[in-house]
């Protein structure tokens, strides 16, 4: 900021705030405002109908409800499994793509297609391909791999959320690839050549040389993908089963399809999810930095 001749120490933060205000104001009013309103409504304040019970009623109802914990645990499982698979697949594929000979590189653009597809489209793709009356079952049937269509494994209704995990992984892996490729672009290939000359195997090279380099991108990718699949609504709406339900579907039902008097309950779930997300980010970053401090830097 060279045009400010002599920045006064006290005015500088205010100037900075003013300069940022086109960004800060919408953020504070819309995002923080929404978050505050959500929290207020979870305590029964500013609700559409006057709230009769106590301030913490919604929370006690939730915390006494075993099915809430089942949903919470299930959302955690789906988010962890899909984020892990997406990051693992993304890291591996990014490495393979990066090692491709130059003339094949343009072909690798294919990986960007799922990035463009909206989540809901990926959900439908999974539904069309993997249901028992779907494309893969039909192909397996006509190839004679299965005798009857219903012999096809019941992936979408297994009780483990496999359909959702599959969809999130398909959608997340290219994203993790994108992050990993950005780091690989600055990676010196001679490190790998040296390791190979010294007799390291391909697997060893990947795990001891490439992976540590990719770690920062993969951690970021994991956090983003994890939090997205933990709270998102579109893929569960198409692919989730009735039990255990995902939290987002549960909130949607209470918000749109039940008595207005239950609004605090919906908002309490959202508040808890938000609090969990914050705690998760802090705990994850701490764990990662502790891990990295223990590892000798190359």
């Amino acid at each position: 900021m060279s045009w400010i001749s002599k920045p006064n120490k006290t005015t500088r933060p205010i100037r900075l705030m003013l300069g940022l205000s086109p960004l800060l104001l919408p953020y504070l009013v819309l995002f923080c405002g929404g978050a505050v309103l959500t929290a207020c409504q979870s305590f029964g304040v500013l609700t559409p109908l006057p709230h009769a019970g106590g301030v913490l009623d919604a929370y006690t109802t939730l915390l006494r409800d075993a099915s809430f914990f089942a949903s919470f645990g299930f959302s955690l499982w789906v988010a962890t499994a899909s984020a892990f698979l997406a990051v693992a697949a993304g890291a591996f594929l990014a490495y393979r793509v990066w090692r491709l000979p130059g003339r094949l590189a343009p072909l690798s653009l294919v990986y960007k297609i799922p990035l463009i597809l909206p989540h809901i489209a990926v959900a439908f793709l999974v539904l069309i391909f993997w249901s028992r009356s779907g494309v893969i079952a039909s192909v397996a049937h006509s190839l004679g791999l299965i005798r009857e269509m219903h012999e096809f494994p019941n992936i979408l209704y297994s009780g483990w959320g496999l359909g959702m995990i599959l969809a999130y992984t398909l959608k997340g892996a290219p994203f993790a690839m994108l992050l990993a490729l950005a780091l690989l672009a600055r990676f010196d290939i001679r490190q790998i050549q040296t390791a190979a000359m010294l007799g390291a195997s391909g697997i060893r090279i990947f795990f001891t040389i490439v992976l540590p380099r990719l770690a920062p991108a993969l951690h970021t990718g994991f956090i983003i993908l994890f939090l997205y699949s933990f709270g998102a609504f579109d893929i569960p709406y198409i692919l989730s089963e009735s039990r255990p339900g995902m939290l987002s579907i549960h909130v949607y039902n209470i918000y749109f399809k039940h008595d207005l008097a239950r609004r605090p309950e919906a908002m309490a779930i959202l508040t808890l999810m938000f609090a969990f997300a914050v705690v998760f980010i802090i705990a994850y970053s701490r764990a990662v930095s502790r891990l990295e401090n223990g590892v000798r830097k190359l």
């Binding site: 559409p48 709406y237 009735s242 039990r243 749109f256 399809k257």
Partner: protein, 405 residues
């Protein structure tokens, strides 16, 4: 930093505090003769927010109703598709923000959403009893309550629906009563299911079972009785849990909504569909997604019916126009065209015996199609909807005792 916080708080307060109350215009409108309301509305635009999931209903509104509005009153009708739960929340936000001029003039609403909207003060009224067609053709006793909640003129009747099951007559013989249905489900594992409450249709299905296994609907009509519910509900959970292992996917999962069940039925994965609209199967046959041999049936134990309504939001910019449209919708001509299965097949909300004889004849001459049951079958088994406090308790109880047990 303090100053910024203060500014933000003021901004925030300005956003959420309601502004001045509704003007005196609204009260005047409620006492104006209807001819003057029509004059006020002439040449304006009316925006009707309604459920948009049925292509044939959308077509009917966009062509037939819109043309009549233009021809009779020179009013431009704009249909906006939106689920009732969504527009109720939209209005809640507008009310909280003090927005006195919204953009919805008429709503298609009933039941839970009506109760929510009326309790939160989102509706203009009473207006329905001043509409000439309501006065002339509607039996007042038939529209005093909407899911046990008093209507008090805050919504105008517009159609009637009754719960029916659907089956393919080339494949199965339908059971006659609920006991027969249970026996059929257990003898044919995996071939029956119902949409997961709080889906509208699935929720109606469990209410119907509730009536049938607890000794009829009469006992619930007086309003919410916690003791009665605690005593009777376990019978319903028992029935539903007994059939659950024999449902589609062994009852591990339920179709999310009635459209999903329709798909399962049309693909033949399950043997029975269900709908809150008696002509739904006929429309699906015409549309080509159900086989031509699809038929509907009701159980002897009773089939729930309800009336759907139109209502006007508190901040409708064109309330006069909304009233004109609500009145047109309950006219003999529109109700008749709505009744035709090639248009929509929705049952009339007016009392046909109050119509001139020529009009009565026109209603009798409508061919409902082979899949739709006539009033001689639907009438005797019709049972009223349950007060909404029970509905809420049943949906919540279903989650607790059937889904999460």
């Amino acid at each position: 930093m303090k100053r910024i916080a203060l500014t933000l708080m003021i901004l925030w307060a300005a956003l959420i505090l309601p502004v001045a109350p509704a003007g005196a215009d609204d009260t005047a409108l409620q006492h104006l003769p209807f001819e003057q309301i029509v004059e006020k509305a002439r040449g304006t635009e009316v925006r009707w927010y309604m459920y948009g999931g049925w292509a044939h209903v959308n077509d009917w509104v966009d062509t037939h109703v819109a043309a009549e509005m233009k021809k009779r009153y020179d009013i431009r009708l704009v249909r906006v598709p939106m689920d009732a739960g969504v527009f109720v929340n939209k209005l809640l936000n507008e009310k909280a923000a003090g927005k006195q001029k919204g953009n919805i003039d008429l709503l298609w609403i009933n039941g839970e959403n009506f109760k929510n909207a009326k309790e939160a003060g989102l509706l203009f009224g009473p207006f329905a009893d001043t509409l000439p067609n309501v006065k002339k053709y509607v039996d007042p006793a038939s529209v005093t309550h909407d899911f046990g909640y008093p209507v008090e003129g805050y919504e105008a009747p517009y159609g009637r629906a009754q719960f029916v099951f659907e089956y393919d007559s080339a494949q199965v013989t339908p059971p006659a009563d609920l006991a027969g249905l249970k026996a059929w489900i257990m003898a044919n594992p995996g071939r029956f299911t119902y949409p997961q409450p709080p889906d509208f249709t699935g929720s109606a299905f469990i209410r119907q079972v509730f009536y049938a296994v607890t000794g009829g609907h009469d006992q619930y009509m007086a309003g919410w009785d916690a003791d009665l519910f605690a005593k009777k509900a376990p019978l319903l959970w028992k029935w539903l849990n007994e059939v659950e292992p024999y449902l589609w996917q062994k009852g591990r999962t339920y179709p999310k909504d009635s459209a999903t069940l329709d798909t399962l039925f049309s693909r033949g994965e399950v043997a029975f569909g269900m709908s809150y609209h008696p002509s739904h199967a006929q429309s699906k046959i015409i549309e080509g997604s159900y086989p031509a041999t699809a038929r509907t049936f009701v159980l002897k134990d009773g089939a729930i019916f309800n009336t759907h309504f139109t209502a006007i939001p508190f901040n409708a910019p064109n309330k006069a126009g909304g009233m004109v449209l609500a009145n047109l919708l309950i006219s003999a001509d529109i109700q008749l065209s709505k009744y035709r299965p090639d248009q929509w097949g929705d049952f009339p909300a007016l009392d046909i015996s109050r119509l001139p004889e020529a009009d009565q004849k026109r209603f009798q001459d409508v061919d409902l199609g082979p899949a739709t049951l006539g009033s001689e079958i639907l009438g005797p088994v019709a049972v009223p909807e349950i007060p909404s406090a029970y509905l809420e308790a049943l949906e919540q109880g279903w989650k607790e005792h059937v889904l999460d047990k």
